[in-house]
Symmetry: C2
């Protein structure tokens, strides 16, 4: 069962902001927590670009953080967190150490440096300002597709983008996923229009095409960026449940199954596939093991669905010869 927005913001206690630059062909998405959220991370790709991930290990001191950033810009994009920190500092938000306030923001970036946008930024990459702007924009509603950290995202055959989805567990906990789909491979079976996540679609959230009854060898031909060039699918899953940091890590680990089911293929040497998991802590778990297990299963489902939605909602970049979007190829006229 999905929630009202079918977005990660159905989880109480977090807001999402996007900022993007059409000329740059890239952008930033930020998740800000109303109260510090217990957060962990699991990086499984062979080529991750991340910042402030070590402190998310359960053995590290920090109990909770203030935000998570999913950005473009590869290693340059990691400036975005600095802009988010600046915005939070202006609002008096941070981890207090005597009279110092340190906003704690963790981040992963995708590789979108060869998508046709102008990357000739000289000494100061624009991601710091994009991060600041994304944080300023944060609210309950946000655009999917070619937006925020998904603005410059691509897959091997169709424009990638920003996706999200939510679900309600039988214990009344909300779980949601937010993803930047920049896969080394593909979210659709063969040339499309069916999504690998087709069997998990709720309603017509990614077009209602379902699944082909037969998938022939042509559909199973491997579709990928080749080269290979770096690629990455990065995500945040969140819940209103009360979790320990170790449980948040398990949630991040288990959610990689959702990443895997949304794409063929994933977790490759040139992938940076990284998932953050955050708990806003509004509702304790009752029968802990059972409720937590259902929560991790539905988080993985949400991530698969969010991947399909990110591609389904995307529009082509405004450059000559830009990669076609799913809508360009398959939407009804």
């Amino acid at each position: 069962m999905t929630q009202s927005r079918n977005l990660i913001t159905d989880v109480a206690g977090l807001r999402i902001g996007n900022a993007q630059d059409a000329g740059l062909g890239s952008g930033v998405t930020v998740a800000l927590f109303d109260e510090p959220a217990v957060t962990s991370v699991f990086a499984m790709g062979g080529a991750p670009a991340t910042r402030e991930t070590d402190l998310l290990d359960p053995d590290k001191m920090v109990p909770a953080i203030h935000g998570v950033v999913l950005s473009g810009g590869s290693a340059f994009g990691l400036d975005a967190s600095s802009g988010v920190q600046a915005c939070l500092r202006e609002q008096g938000i941070g981890f207090a150490v005597r009279d110092a306030l340190v906003p704690l923001v963790s981040q992963a970036s995708i590789f979108d440096l060869v998508n046709g946008g102008d990357k000739d930024w000289g000494r100061y990459p624009p991601y710091r300002e994009l991060g600041y702007e994304a944080a300023r924009q944060a609210g309950p509603d946000f655009a999917l597709g070619t937006a925020g950290g998904g603005y410059g995202a691509t897959t091997a055959n169709l424009k990638g983008g920003l996706g999200s989805a939510s679900a309600l567990t039988s214990s009344g906990h909300t779980v949601g996923a937010l993803v930047v789909v920049n896969s080394i491979a593909s979210a659709v079976i063969g040339d499309g229009p069916h999504f690998w996540a087709g069997a998990l679609e709720e309603g017509r959230e990614f077009g209602g095409h379902g699944h082909p009854a037969r998938v022939g060898p042509d559909h199973r031909r491997l579709v990928w960026k080749g080269g290979p060039q770096p690629a990455t699918t990065i995500a945040l899953v969140a819940t209103d449940a009360v979790l320990t940091k170790a449980q948040a890590k398990r949630l991040a680990v288990a959610s990689h199954a959702g990443l895997a089911r949304g794409l063929r293929f994933s977790h490759a040497l040139f992938d940076g596939d990284t998932i953050f998991a955050a708990a806003t802590g509004r509702r304790p778990l009752g029968d802990e093991a059972a409720e937590f297990t259902e929560l991790t299963a539905l988080a993985a489902d949400c991530l698969s669905r969010a991947i399909a939605r990110g591609v389904y909602e995307a529009t082509a970049l405004p450059y000559p010869g830009a990669q076609p979007a799913w809508r360009d190829r398959f939407a009804l006229a």
Copy 2:
């Protein structure tokens, strides 16, 4: 493209042996390498039972090992490696330290202690002898389904089992998967007969049922063992490529995507989901990054297919009230 046997033994340089005990309702599968194979592992479940996995990290000294065991018996089953070592020692196989020979055997076990078999073994669990016998049986052909380490395996709704599949990469490397499917959840969509791995099926290797064109909310109801009780899907992927130990680890990591796509759901708190990856080193990689990336993608596919085959080939345990097998429910009369 599958290879001749559509088994992991299509990979040159390894043999598989099974041993099982019907009264016990459990068994052991062993992979033995003709020459020591570069092997690593990645454990992602929340409740793994493993032995000799630390030495498989790329920073550890051991360059290659002699075998991998996938067994029943949970933590008791880890005795199986001792029996395999005994068999290898008799054959003069081991890591030589002056005149000592140490057979190096890594293992993971599934939880199959409540499947109706007689687990009242007293002081000496039977897995050591089963391991010895499985090693003695090792050859190019072996049974799937209710056999070896998959003998006592179950899923939430259908009998689990031992599965395998193989593929040939465009660079001529063979890759194969071997899996004991003992999922906390399910390999089939809803009540079946369609497999979650349906879109990846080669030929009619698991019945040729394909995929339902529409999957309704009833199909998406979460099916799992509840309780929860421990469960585990454990696997070995292997290739004839020459890999470094770090590449073998990446192969194990990437193969978890195949585990994820074969089941809904996986990688849960009570799962032990663990994958070994071994390289028998018969064929160097050419264009290393590209060939290796394809190899990891096809290994994940093989594992998804092997999961479906393990359930498809299974027969029910010989006990009153035993869990039904896929064949009991869906095979044509």
